[in-house]
Symmetry: C2
Subunit: 234 residues, 2 copies
């Protein structure tokens, strides 16, 4: 298992669904870091950097999250290792980047601290990023879209309790397409993925919507004829 | 993106479903390589080794497959990067292993070439492996089981055409549990994942079973209310 010496970096794609769209609809945002040196000086890149000697991969990804958002990860998962031969700007340098992705709950986004060299941008309006980071964000979004229906990932964008409209808007923000409210409601309730908390959203008009929570007992096992669940290993 | 210097290795978990069980039922097998030097000398380990300067990650994984089975990969996918601090036997050494997994079609297993230091073993009867490779195989199997229902992966174990019994036996070998033939048949046909080729298995008794092929047009999109498919990025 003796491996060749290759420069190794860890980067993290951090998604948040913020109520910044028309009528307060949710939109996907990611924090980016401005590069202060070459190559790609001045361009925006994913948070991250070299793997430190004394930290494992996930700790390195969590550190990037902490530095850019001030938050500890809720949902943090390894996405992919990118190791193409030509992805580094320096021909003498071989860099393999192990990329994680994380999500931040809506009720945490107010805690996001700002920094001249850290900016949150709409996923739908990203500028060209340094290195192959545009491709990495695109792939992270692709995987998030594939994952959102059959896993619990959508709930990681929400607080402990949420309305079905909030849950639908998270799906819409991730999938980038509107979903029929009635069909969505029927599908979610039929899946058994959520439980009615018996409480309703406060501070709302005369018919406050019900609040639900994720049903951790079920984990959408019903999608699987053999009774296996779709949950990734923690 | 300059990364720290860390030893990097690539290993590949190669699955094949072979007709070695009772009544010729399919069982999962993996090829292992005997270590000829310390640490863990004489123990079995996953095929793989250091990443070469001139090959990308997937090429390195494909090389391990070629060396141990003589085959070019059909299905080859990155599984996970393992980078724990204590996984190397040598305390001075930090090794990150990027692990791929591959599958071999049933009609290729006859091509497997043997080698004193390469052995195929039943997944259900593996000895303790070198390093953390036992955990890696366990995780690969966990992911394969989660993936088999909602993706095309089961078909990568089969030839271009197959009977529904063969398809069911691949699922049974992977899931490690018998499936009800009638329920399985109904589920598969209803999913639209397979197409009747109009031909039947030759050399079989008076009622030869129909041969099917994977429906590449559909990719089980029906599992997804929003119409997304479950396919991983190639």
């Amino acid at each position: 298992m003796n491996g060749q010496t290759v420069a190794l970096a860890v980067s993290t794609v951090i998604f948040a669904a913020r109520d910044t769209g028309p009528d307060g609809r949710k939109e996907l945002w990611v924090p980016l870091v401005r590069r202060i040196r070459e190559p790609f000086g001045g361009m925006w890149a994913l948070p991250g950097g070299p793997l430190l000697e004394d930290e494992d991969l996930e700790a390195s990804a969590a550190r990037a999250l902490q530095l850019t958002t001030g938050l500890h990860p809720g949902y943090l998962e390894q996405l992919y290792a990118f190791g193409g031969l030509t992805r580094s700007a320096n021909a003498d340098e071989r860099v393999v980047s192990i990329v994680y992705w994380a999500s931040i709950r809506a009720d945490q986004t107010s805690d996001l601290h700002a920094d001249l060299n850290v900016a949150w941008m709409r996923v739908s309006e990203l500028p060209p990023l340094a290195f192959d980071h545009s491709d990495i964000v695109e792939y992270a979004l692709y995987r998030l879209r594939n994952k959102v229906i059959y896993s619990r990932v959508a709930y990681s964008f929400l607080g402990e309790t949420f309305t079905l409209a909030e849950l639908r808007e998270v799906h819409e923000a991730i999938l980038g397409t509107p979903l029929d409210p009635a069909n969505f409601r029927r599908h979610v309730l039929a899946s058994g993925a959520v439980l009615d908390t018996g409480t309703r959203l406060e501070g709302t008009p005369h018919r406050p919507p019900r609040l639900y929570r994720y049903n951790t007992d079920l984990d959408l096992a019903d999608l699987f004829p053999a009774g296996r669940t779709t949950q990734e290993k923690p």
